[in-house]
C-alpha cells in the first residue's frame, strides 16, 4: 500500500547531494539506503519543470518517496 502525501520536509544532512536525514512533521528520519532515483517532468503545460524522485529506506525500515524540485523537498509517497 502506498499513500501520496506530498508535504514539505526539511532535509538536514546530505551525502553526495542525496538526503541522509530529513524531518517530517517534527519527526527525524535517518536514511539507511537509497533504493532508486529517477526524474519526472511536471505539468509542462502549467510551466512546471523537472523534479527528482528518490526512494529511500530509513534505518527503521520505512520506505518513502522524496521529491525535490527548485531546491525544495517534499515527502511525496509513504509505503506502508
Amino acid at each position: 500500500m502506498t499513500r501520496i502525501v506530498r508535504r514539505p520536509i526539511q532535509v538536514e544532512s546530505w551525502c553526495a547531494r542525496m538526503p541522509q536525514q530529513f524531518r517530517d512533521q517534527g519527526t527525524l528520519y535517518r536514511v539507511a539506503d537509497w533504493i532508486d532515483i529517477w526524474r519526472e517532468m511536471g505539468n509542462w503545460w502549467e510551466g512546471e519543470g523537472e523534479r527528482w524522485m528518490i526512494r529511500v529506506m530509513t534505518v527503521d525500515g520505512q520506505i518513502f518517496d522524496l521529491e525535490s524540485s527548485d531546491g525544495r523537498w517534499w515527502l511525496y509517497k509513504v509505503w506502508d
Binding site: 532508486d36 532515483i37 529517477w38 526524474r39 519526472e40 517532468m41 505539468n43 509542462w44 503545460w45 523537472e50 524522485m53 526512494r55
Partner: protein
C-alpha cells in the same frame, strides 16, 4: 565517443517527435560519426535518413525496432546487405495479415538472423521485462537463447533514461551479461532531437493512446531524457559501464551502409520470341505507331523521333518505355479508356506508342521538358484510366511482371492544420465543441505551423481570438507536429516494378484494400532506385464511358473518338460559361474566363487550362493574354526569335516549355541547362539565386549576339514567370479531354449529366448543383423510386432517373437484390411488400428509402410510412418465424389505406427537404429557397434567374445556397472570395473583395452561412454571363 543506435523519428508514427533531418543535424552538431534509425516496425524513413546522413556527413546505420508477437520490443540493426534483406523480410512477415498492428513470430527472427545485430531493446524488450518482473531465470534463458542464435551479434541494451528502476535494471542486465558473456551496449532510446521537444513527444503519446494530458499512463514519457545527446552526456549517464559506451562505436564500425541510393532497379522488358534487342524493338514499335498516327512520316518527324529515341537509349530508359507501352497496349486491347498526361505528353515517342494522345511533334512541344541528357532524371509517366477498370490494369501488371516484383507505393497522411487542431486539442482536453468549430473554420490546406497567424488573418476565426491564451499550447504543439506522418496510406496510382524481388529491396505491407505496398512514398521509392509508374483512376474517363453506355442503352450511338475538335456549338457553350460538369473547365474562375475569352479553337482551351492556376493569376498574366487574344492590345515581340516561341500565346510566356525554348534560343543554353533554369525559377524564391541565373543568362545572350537591354527585358519576362508556369503538354492532354466533355455536355446533356451523377463524387460541385444545371437546361430529374430506379442513374425518355447509388449509405448488394426481385416478380406494391420480398432490406435502409420518397408513388404519406415501419418489420419477423399474426396487422402494408394512421400523414415540406438534402444531396420535393421565397419577395430579393436580364452595374438583392466558397491566391496577396449562389431558379457566380469579406462575408465559410442573402452589383466583364460583385452578405432571419 558514443553513437546512438536506437533512435525514433516521426516515422515511428506518434512515437517520435523529430523529423529525420533534425535528428541527423543534431547528431552532426554533437560530432557523432554515425547514428542508427530504428523506427517502430518500419524502414519508411531510411531513404530520407540516408539522404540527410550524406548531407551532414554521418554514417547511416539502418535498423528498426521490431515488435514480437508477445508485444515485446527488440532493436535490430542491419550489419550487412544480407542483414538488410533479412530485416526487410522480417518486417514483411510482421505486417502480413496484421495491418496496423505488426508483430513478428520469434521463430522467423531466428530463421532470418544472418547479417543482423540485435540489441535486447528498451524497457518493453522481453529480457528487460522479465528482469523487471523478477523472473531472473527466464530472463537468463532468453538471453542465452539470443546469444546462441545471434553469435557475436547480440547485445544487452542499457538505457540511460533515468526512469524508475533504470539503475537497478541496468545493474541486473550487466550482471546477466557478465554471467553469460554477453556484451553490453548503451542506448538512450531517442524519441526527440532536443530536450525542448519533450512536450511534443508527450502530446504525440497522448494522441497515439487516445488520452489527455491529465490522464496518467505508462505509455506517456516520464521525463525529457530520451533526446539525442552528445558523448559527454552519454559518459555521465553510463559512467559505470564504459564498455557499453565503447560497444556503440564497435557496432557502428561493423555496420555497413546497406541502403544504396540512386541505383537502377527497373526490370528488363521481356522481349517477344525472335527479338534480341530492346532498343530495336522499341524503334520498331515507334515507327509502326508513327504510321498509325500520321498519314505521312516526313523527315522532320523522323528526325524528332530519332532524337527522342537516342536520348531514351542513352539514358537507359528503353525498357521503361516498353513497359509503359505494354500497359497502355493492354488497356487499348481491352477497350479500357485511358489518357497519358503530364510532361510525358511532350514526347512524340509516347504519342506514337499510344501512351499519350497529344501530338507533341505537331504542337512543337519540347521533349527536353520531359527527358534530357543533362538532367538524367527518371522519367515520370502518368496515365489516367477509367476508374471502374483501373484494377484490371493493375492486375495485368502484377500478372505480367510478377507478384514478387510489383507493389503499390505508399503515401503518408500528415498532420495539417485541421487534423493537428483536432488531435492536439483533444489531447489538451480543450472543449470538444470549441475544437470542432475551430477546426471547421480553419481554411482548407492551412499548415499546422501557421495556425496562430491564421487566427489574426481570417475573419471567421475572429471569435476565437478571445481564447488566445487558452490556445497558446495548441498553436505551439500543432506547429511542433506539422507535417509529421500520421499513418500510412496507399498512393492513388503509384506502382513500382522492380528487377529484383521487392523483399530484397524493401519491406512490404498490406494496404487497407489488401494490396501489397512498399513503405516508401514516391520520393523515397525513387531514392532507392525504384521507378514509379502512376496508373491513376480518373472518374472523368468513367463518366465518358458511362455517357456512351447510356447512349447505347437507348439504341443510339456516340463515337467519342470521332468527336470533331472544331464544333462551334461546343465553343459557344464554353463561351457562355455553361460548363458545370466539364473536365477542368467548370470552376467559377474557369467559367468566368471562358465568358471573357470566347474560345473558338482547341488552343484556347489549352491556354485556359494553364491560365487558371495560382501562378498566372498571381502573376497577372490573365488580362494581358485576354486583351491580346481579343486584339485589344497589339502583340509584339522583343526579339524576332521570340515570335515562333511565343506566337501561340500572343507573346505572353505561359508554358514551361516556352521558358526552356527562350533560354536555348536567346541565350544558347543547352536544353538541360534551360530546364534547370526553369526549375530554379519555378521553385526558388532566393533573390541571390535568381540574380546568379540572370547573370548567366545575360552573359550567354551577349555571346549569342543579343543586345544587353533586350536580353535584360526578356529575362525580366521569364523572371516574372517564376512559379506559375504550366507544362504545355499537360495542358494539351487535359484540354483535349476538357473539350470533348464539353462536346458531350452540348450534344448529349441528358446522358452526360446522368454519367456525372453516376461517378459522384467527382468534379467541383455538389450533386444539387449538377441537378440544378440539368434542370436549368430543361431536363427532368426524377427522384429515387422503388419501382423505377436502379443502382445507377439512367436515362429514359429524355429524363434522368436518379439511382439508388446516390442514397447515403446504400449498399450495392442490397440494391441489386431489390432490383433483381422487382425484375423477376414485378413491381413492389407497398413498403411491406418490399420488406417481405427482400428480407435483407433492413430498418435503416427502408427508412432512408421512405425519407427520400422512394415509395411516394405507392403512398406519398412519408410520416405515416415511417410510423408503421417498425410494426411491419416486426410483422415480417413474425411471418418468417411463423408466429401468429394480429388480424389486421398488415392490412395497410398490403396496399390498402384503410388503417387509421393516428394523424400521421405526410411530413412537412421542410422535413422532406432536410431528409432529401442530407440523404441524396439534392432537394427532390423542391428547393430550400422555396421556403424563404415569400419572405424574400416581400423584402425585395429577386430570383437568380432574373439576373440574366439585369444590366451591367445594376444593384441587386438575391439569396441562395452558398456553393464552394474559396479564397485562391491573388496577385496583390489580398483575399478575394469566390463562391456561387444557387436558388430554385438558377445559379450565379459571386466575387467578394477583402473589405466586404472582413465586414460581413466571413459567414459564408461557417455552417451558419449555408444560406445567405447577398446585396451586390452585376458585372459582366466582357462576357454575357452575369457575375455578382458582393457588397454585403446578409444572414436570413425569417423565423423559419
Amino acid at each position: 565517443m558514443f553513437v546512438h543506435l536506437h533512435c525514433h523519428s516521426s516515422f515511428s508514427f506518434q512515437d517520435g517527435a523529430s523529423t529525420i533531418e533534425s535528428l541527423v543535424a543534431q547528431a552532426a552538431a554533437e560530432n557523432m560519426p554515425a547514428m542508427a534509425l530504428t523506427d517502430h516496425n518500419t524502414i519508411a524513413g531510411l531513404p530520407e535518413f540516408h539522404h540527410w546522413a550524406s548531407v551532414y556527413g554521418i554514417q547511416p546505420i539502418s535498423g528498426a525496432e521490431l515488435t514480437l508477437e508477445d508485444g515485446t520490443h527488440l532493436t535490430v540493426l542491419a550489419e550487412t546487405p544480407l542483414g538488410y534483406e533479412n530485416l526487410c523480410r522480417l518486417l514483411t512477415i510482421a505486417h502480413e495479415g496484421r495491418r496496423r498492428q505488426p508483430a513478428l513470430p520469434e521463430p522467423e527472427l531466428f530463421r532470418h538472423a544472418q547479417g543482423l545485430i540485435v540489441l535486447s531493446g528498451c524497457r518493453r524488450g522481453r529480457i528487460p521485462q522479465l528482469v523487471l518482473q523478477h523472473r531472473a531465470s527466464e530472463a537468463k534463458e532468453t538471453a542465452r537463447r539470443y546469444h546462441e542464435r545471434f553469435p557475436g551479434a547480440f547485445y544487452l541494451e542499457l538505457q540511460g533514461d533515468e526512469y524508475p528502476r533504470t539503475h537497478w535494471l541496468n545493474r541486473q542486465l550487466a550482471e546477466l551479461g557478465g554471467e553469460l558473456g554477453i556484451p553490453l551496449v548503451a542506448s538512450s532510446n531517442v524519441h526527440h532531437a532536443t530536450p525542448e521537444q519533450f512536450p511534443v513527444y508527450d502530446i504525440l503519446s497522448c494522441i497515439r493512446t487516445g488520452i489527455t494530458i491529465y490522464d496518467p499512463s505508462g505509455e506517456r514519457p516520464l521525463n525529457p531524457n530520451r533526446w539525442l545527446h552528445g558523448a559527454a552526456e552519454a559518459r555521465r549517464r553510463f559512467s559505470a559501464y564504459p564498455q557499453a559506451l565503447e560497444n556503440t562505436m564497435r557496432i557502428a564500425e561493423r555496420c555497413q551502409v546497406v541502403v544504396r541510393l540512386n541505383q537502377s532497379l527497373f526490370p528488363a522488358y521481356r522481349l517477344p520470341r525472335g527479338e534480341t534487342s530492346a532498343a530495336a524493338y522499341l524503334r520498331r514499335l515507334v515507327w509502326r505507331g508513327a504510321r498509325e498516327r500520321y498519314p505521312h512520316v516526313d523527315g522532320e518527324l523522323r528526325a524528332r523521333l530519332d532524337h527522342e529515341l537516342g536520348i531514351i537509349e542513352r539514358l537507359g530508359y528503353v525498357d521503361y518505355f516498353l513497359v509503359v507501352w505494354d500497359i497502355a497496349n493492354f488497356a487499348r486491347s481491352r477497350r479500357i479508356r485511358y489518357a497519358g498526361r503530364g510532361s510525358a505528353a511532350d514526347s512524340a515517342v509516347a504519342y506514337c506508342l499510344h501512351i499519350t494522345d497529344v501530338d507533341a511533334a505537331g504542337r512543337g512541344l519540347l521533349f527536353e521538358r520531359f527527358l534530357s541528357l543533362e538532367r538524367a532524371e527518371k522519367p515520370d509517366i502518368d496515365i489516367d484510366f477509367d476508374s471502374r477498370r483501373r484494377d484490371e490494369v493493375m492486375e495485368y501488371v502484377y500478372r505480367t511482371y510478377g507478384d514478387q516484383n510489383v507493389a503499390r507505393v505508399a503515401t503518408y497522411q500528415t498532420f495539417r492544420g485541421k487534423s493537428a487542431i483536432r488531435a492536439v486539442g483533444a489531447a489538451l482536453a480543450l472543449p470538444e465543441g470549441l475544437v470542432d468549430q475551430l477546426a471547421k473554420r480553419i481554411p482548407w490546406g492551412t499548415r499546422a505551423d501557421r495556425l496562430e497567424e491564421m487566427l489574426q488573418q481570417v475573419p471567421e476565426l475572429r471569435p476565437y481570438r478571445a481564447h488566445q491564451r487558452q490556445f497558446a499550447w495548441l498553436w505551439r504543439l500543432a506547429a511542433g507536429i506539422a507535417g509529421f506522418p500520421r499513418h500510412f496510406g496507399l498512393h492513388l496510382g503509384g506502382v513500382v516494378i522492380s528487377s529484383r524481388p521487392l523483399f530484397a529491396v524493401t519491406s512490404l505491407q498490406p494496404s487497407a484494400k489488401g494490396e501489397r505496398m512498399i513503405p516508401f512514398d514516391k520520393e523515397a521509392a525513387e531514392m532507392v532506385g525504384l521507378v514509379k509508374l502512376d496508373l491513376l483512376s480518373l472518374r472523368t474517363m468513367s463518366a465518358i464511358d458511362n455517357a456512351i453506355g447510356l447512349r447505347e442503352s437507348q439504341k443510339m450511338t456516340l463515337d467519342y473518338e470521332a468527336i470533331p475538335l472544331d464544333d462551334q456549338a461546343t465553343f459557344r457553350r464554353l463561351g457562355r460559361g455553361e460548363t458545370v460538369g466539364v473536365f477542368q473547365l467548370e470552376s467559377p474562375a474557369q467559367r468566368a474566363l471562358q465568358t471573357r475569352l470566347q474560345p473558338d479553337r482547341l488552343e484556347d482551351i489549352v491556354a485556359s487550362v494553364a491560365l487558371i492556376r495560382p501562378g498566372p493569376i498571381k502573376g497577372n498574366m490573365v488580362d494581358p493574354f485576354l486583351r491580346r487574344r481579343k486584339g485589344l492590345e497589339p502583340v509584339s515581340y522583343l526579339h524576332p526569335k521570340l515570335e515562333p516561341i511565343l506566337g501561340k500565346t500572343y507573346g505572353v510566356v505561359l508554358f514551361q516549355e516556352q521558358v526552356i525554348e527562350i533560354a536555348t534560343t536567346i541565350a544558347k543554353f543547352t536544353p538541360g541547362e534551360a530546364d534547370q533554369l526553369r526549375r530554379v525559377m519555378s521553385h526558388a524564391r532566393s533573390a541571390a539565386k535568381m540574380e546568379r541565373i540572370g547573370e548567366q543568362f545575360l552573359a550567354k545572350a551577349a555571346q549569342a549576339g543579343v543586345g544587353e537591354e533586350v536580353a535584360k527585358t526578356i529575362f525580366s519576362y521569364i523572371q516574372g514567370y517564376a512559379s506559375y508556369g504550366f507544362c504545355e503538354a499537360h495542358a494539351a492532354a487535359f484540354a483535349t479531354t476538357a473539350y470533348k466533355t464539353a462536346y458531350l455536355l452540348e450534344h448529349y446533356p441528358v446522358e452526360f449529366y446522368a454519367a456525372v451523377l453516376n461517378q459522384y463524387p467527382m468534379g467541383y460541385y455538389p450533386i444539387h448543383v449538377i441537378v440544378a444545371e440539368a434542370r436549368r437546361r430543361g431536363i427532368s430529374v426524377l427522384g429515387v423510386d422503388i419501382n423505377a430506379s436502379e443502382w445507377s442513374c439512367r436515362v429514359t425518355d429524355g429524363q434522368i432517373r436518379l439511382g439508388f447509388r446516390l442514397l447515403k449509405g446504400s449498399q450495392e448488394t442490397l440494391i441489386r437484390t431489390l432490383v433483381d426481385e422487382r425484375q423477376a416478380h414485378g413491381p413492389y406494391r407497398s413498403v411491406f411488400d418490399a420488406l417481405c420480398r427482400v428480407p435483407q432490406l433492413d430498418a435503416l435502409s427502408a427508412q432512408h428509402l421512405i425519407r427520400v420518397g422512394a415509395f411516394d408513388a405507392l403512398d406519398p404519406r412519408r410520416r405515416h410510412l415511417l410510423w408503421r415501419l417498425p410494426e411491419w418489420l416486426r410483422l415480417r419477423h413474425a411471418r418468417h418465424a411463423r408466429l401468429p399474426l394480429l388480424p389486421d396487422a398488415s392490412m395497410d402494408g398490403e396496399g390498402g389505406r384503410t388503417r387509421r394512421d393516428g394523424g400521421h400523414g405526410d411530413l412537412p415540406f421542410v422535413v422532406k427537404l432536410a431528409d432529401e438534402y442530407s440523404l441524396v444531396g439534392v432537394g427532390l420535393s423542391g428547393h430550400w429557397l422555396e421556403l424563404y421565397r415569400p419572405f424574400l419577395t416581400q423584402n425585395g430579393y429577386v430570383p437568380i434567374r432574373n439576373l440574366d436580364c439585369a444590366e451591367d452595374g445594376d444593384e441587386v438583392l438575391v439569396a441562395g445556397l452558398v456553393v464552394c466558397p474559396h479564397r485562391p491566391p491573388t496577385q496583390s496577396g489580398r483575399t478575394v472570395v469566390f463562391f456561387s449562389l444557387e436558388d430554385e431558379s438558377g445559379i450565379v457566380d459571386a466575387t467578394m473583395f477583402e473589405s466586404v469579406y472582413r465586414r460581413s462575408g466571413a459567414v459564408v465559410f461557417t455552417p451558419q452561412g449555408r444560406i445567405v442573402g447577398v446585396r451586390g452589383r452585376i458585372q459582366r466583364r466582357g462576357g454575357d454571363r452575369p457575375n455578382l460583385l458582393t457588397w454585403e452578405v446578409l444572414p436570413l432571419h425569417t423565423g423559419l
